[in-house]
């Protein structure tokens, strides 16, 4: 029982982090067709922002990081991406790769290569169903999931979200409907990457800060986005849950290294079985299938 609670809690805290990452990456991928390989570096920017403005109270510092993230992503979109969309996925992927190098090296130039840390604003632990768990992790997981929930509500329940979904489905059609695509694109990129910055800011007290810190987050975020049928914005969040659950389950029962290998192997199998991504509308999917000639 106790180990089950522990497993649940560690999955929850991973899920909160990955959901923020994957939602941001999924937005950028779905809307712009950009594989943001610099996503992890935006996490790094968020974490270092928390380190740099040490004097500012923690919640306010998160806000500062977010503002910084918005500015950085708008600049990126404007200076690098805007002219590259038409050249397809490879061009934008490479551009973001270049940006990742630049961000890492800038961080190294400004903060040095020595690991840094950020003090946690919430100390101590709380008891959850008989298990002691760090209070800060719980707070962060809940805050992250709340942000994700708000984002999803905006996407699915507001007219802004409708426009967003419309322009994901068909950019030309959206333009006809009077949605300025350029604003929409810049806005989506800003929101998507700022979510990564926010994730980095929130996670900073549990991380060792180094300029290369973001590299490790690219793969799980990427998997979360792509393991579920793309196109829907809730998909990446579900994907994050799959990745978090798979990762904490494997690492619960196997050594870390073997768990890593199994994690990748499981992904390959998952994709081989469901090359178009997991579908969350299984009932309908299977009913259309059954109609096929035998």
């Amino acid at each position: 029982m106790e180990s089950l609670v522990t497993l649940g809690l560690s999955t929850l805290s991973l899920f909160g982090f990955y959901a923020l990452l994957a939602l941001g990456m999924g937005l950028v991928f779905g809307q712009l067709g950009v594989v943001n390989v610099a996503h992890g570096e935006f996490v790094m920017v968020g974490a270092y922002a928390m380190y740099a403005f040490d004097a500012v109270p923690f919640p306010l510092r998160v806000l500062v990081a977010v503002v910084l993230g918005v500015a950085l992503s708008l600049l990126t979109e404007r200076a690098i991406l805007r002219k590259l969309y038409v050249r397809g996925m490879l061009a934008t992927l490479l551009a973001m790769w270049g940006l990742a190098i630049v961000l890492r090296q800038l961080a190294e130039a400004v903060f040095g290569a020595t690991p840094r840390s950020v003090a946690s604003p919430v100390q101590g632990s709380v008891e959850v169903l008989g298990v002691q768990y760090p209070a800060y992790r719980l707070v962060v997981a809940l805050v992250s999931l709340a942000v994700v929930a708000v984002a999803l509500i905006v996407v699915y329940r507001t007219s802004l979200g409708l426009k967003l979904r419309a322009s994901i489905d068909n950019r030309d059609m959206a333009a006809v409907l009077g949605i300025p695509p350029r604003l929409m694109i810049a806005g989506t990129f800003a929101v998507g990457t700022t979510l990564a910055v926010l994730a980095g800011a929130l996670q900073s007290p549990v991380l060792g800060l180094t300029p290369g810190l973001g590299v490790a987050f690219l793969a799980p975020a990427f998997f979360a986005v792509l393991v579920v049928r793309p196109g829907s914005l809730a998909g990446p969040v579900m994907g994050a849950l799959v990745v978090a659950l798979l990762s904490s389950l494997l690492r619960r029962y196997l050594t870390e290294t073997v768990a890593d290998l199994f994690f990748f192997a499981a992904l390959v199998v998952l994709i081989a079985v469901r090359p178009a991504g997991l579908s969350w509308r299984l009932p309908r999917w299977s009913s259309t299938r059954s109609k096929q000639p035998a």
């Binding site: 002219k83 996925m89 490879l90 190098i101 800038l106 990427f222 390959v268 994709i271």
Partner: protein, 570 residues
């Protein structure tokens, strides 16, 4: 044999080859030992980039984890040298391992239902898994401390061996793959997969072959690199190496041999130079430079050079592939059957989600017959055509071509049986010239007829791209491609849309004439009643996903329900 070689190797190529061989042979006499080792490294990295280019640049197969293959080759050589196994055996083992992994990844990620992004995830997982495996399987790989590979042939010997293998591999792959029918098919599926399929090219198989060749070359590059690198450790197959090779290709120029080697060489040598000059800032500089290249020179340095020396448009468009066929008569795949219908559909149903579009259509088309499908918008004409062509799998019902059940067969297999296809929006290779479009179609032809004089204007148009043609010409080009490809059955979706009245009538006459001359069966969706009258042996009227009535034009137009449902007459 000689003739085939002539077709593939131009005088320019021979000169370039001799030049490259001479330059490579002379390098040790001009360069000091250290620059020579740097050049050796640049050459193997160039081969690696060339390998990736086969998949990404030529066939459009995404891979962001190619270092996995490179690393397998390198480990093959390293393990052999550490355990006193013959090196060739180790190299072969590494290459085979790479091919097996590529096959597994390709079968999973290049299937019909797979998305383009699927390959990205799979290859990323692959590179992470292989490098983690190398780190963990310490008994075989010595873990993070790696395996030492000593080169016993000295700087110059290592250089000559490396240069020989690199040059040989590139020449062989270029001659057999890139200049052969595979190279042509790579171009076709990269530029327009839909059209390629309907020319009978299997896109998945072609991509899988591209991935296999690419993985094999990359593994070979890794094996050759092992003694040059000196120590093989898990980072050799890691994510950094995987992305570095992308950078080389992007900087040099995708889809060109020169680009792969130029990119790898410049970055490898530039790394050293910049590192010397600006110290630890050079990585930042590299990042910025790289961003500038991607942003302002999307076709890489080769693209920049090309825009200066202005080569003919057609050379750039073909990307080094020979688009024309051998001219030899292809094997006869005649689908003609004695008597029975050449095309047959029974009880076909197709839904889009909850919306039923086709609700049970039966149709038989005899050989040589010209059938027109008409009906109001939303009647399901285009969808039915797509079901016949193999683009949509019907929910129920069966389709036969020449007596063979093809219901579960993909489009390219139906094309191989002689089923040609024209689309409502013309589907041609926009990035090729009209002459190249025609040449490619003939080269892939089932049994191409003698060239029609009618299309001389396309065969002679070799100085502009198809995308610059007006819509009507593009449609004519598509028809020209379909006909010179030599179909048994041709499916046409509104061939006269967007044409002037005179042109439409002329087109209808041409089609009629072709059908009569070649015995080709035509199934056309058409709105223009005058054309239908000109063309059709039989008219089939669809409404609400069902056949309302069929018969000659006169019979059909006399039918009350048709007048009501379609012609709008009360």
């Amino acid at each position: 044999m000689i003739a085939a070689l002539r077709r593939r190797v131009g005088r320019g190529h021979a000169l370039a080859l001799v030049g490259a061989a001479l330059a490579l042979a002379a390098a040790p006499f001009l360069l000091l030992p250290y620059p020579l080792t740097l050049l050796t490294l640049a050459l193997v990295y160039g081969l690696f980039a060339f390998g990736l280019d086969i998949a990404w640049g030529r066939a459009g197969v995404v891979s962001i984890g190619h270092a996995a293959f490179f690393g397998l080759g390198a480990y093959g050589a390293a393990i052999a040298s550490a355990r006193d196994i013959p090196v060739l055996l180790g190299v072969a083992g590494g290459v085979v391992a790479a091919l097996v992994l590529a096959l597994v990844i390709g079968l999973a990620g290049l299937g019909r239902r797979a998305l383009a992004s699927t390959m990205a995830v799979l290859t990323l997982a692959l590179t992470l898994a292989v490098s983690q495996g190398a780190r963990s399987w310490t008994g075989l790989t010595n873990g993070s401390n790696g395996l030492v590979v000593l080169s016993d042939s000295g700087v110059v010997g290592t250089y000559y061996r490396t240069a020989g293998i690199v040059l040989g591999t590139v020449v062989v792959v270029w001659l057999i793959v890139l200049r052969g029918s595979l190279g042509r098919r790579f171009v076709a599926i990269r530029l327009n997969q839909q059209r390629a399929e309907h020319l009978g090219i299997d896109p998945w198989r072609t991509k899988l072959i591209a991935l296999l060749i690419s993985a094999g070359i990359s593994a070979l590059a890794g094996a050759v690199a092992a003694p040059v690198i000196g120590l093989i450790s898990p980072s050799i197959s890691g994510i950094v190496m995987s992305t570095e090779v992308l950078v080389w290709l992007a900087v040099g120029g995708l889809g060109t041999i020169t680009g792969a080697f130029l990119g790898a060489g410049l970055v490898t040598i530039g790394n050293q130079l910049l590192g010397d000059v600006i110290g630890s800032w050079y990585l930042l500089m590299m990042g910025v430079l790289f961003l500038l290249v991607v942003r302002f020179a999307p076709e890489g340095l080769v693209g920049v050079v090309r825009s200066v020396i202005r080569r003919p448009l057609r050379e750039k468009a073909a990307g080094g592939a020979v688009l024309a066929g051998t001219g030899a008569p292809p094997p006869d795949r005649s689908t003609a059957t004695a008597g029975g219908p050449v095309l047959r559909a029974r009880d076909v149903e197709k839904d889009f989600g909850p919306v039923p579009v086709i609700q049970g259509i039966d149709l038989d088309v005899a050989a040589g017959e010209v059938v027109c499908l008409i009906g109001p918008n939303g009647a399901g004409k285009t969808t039915f055509l797509a079901v016949l062509a193999g683009e949509h799998v019907p929910e129920r019902g069966r389709v036969w071509i020449a007596g063979r059940d093809v219901t579960a067969r993909p489009a390219h297999e139906r094309a191989r049986m002689g089923l040609g296809r024209m689309f409502q929006i013309p589907s041609v290779f926009l990035e090729l010239t009209p002459a190249q479009n025609l040449a490619l179609a003939r080269a892939e032809g089932v049994h191409p007829p003698a060239p029609l004089a009618l299309y001389d204007r396309f065969t002679s148009t070799d100085d502009m791209l198809a995308k610059d043609l007006p819509l009507a010409d593009r449609r004519a080009l598509e028809l020209a491609m379909a006909l010179s490809w030599g179909p048994e059955i041709l499916l046409l979706d509104e061939p006269a849309a967007g044409l002037s009245h005179e042109d439409s009538v002329a087109l209808a006459r041409t089609l009629r004439e072709v059908a009569e001359r070649t015995g080709c069966t035509l199934v056309a969706v058409e709105h223009d009643m005058e054309i239908v009258r000109e063309l059709a042996d039989r008219v089939v009227v669809l409404a609400d996903g069902r056949i309302l009535v069929e018969g000659s034009m006169d019979e059909v137009s006399a039918h009350d329900e048709v007048r009501r449902a379609y012609l709008g007459v009360a």
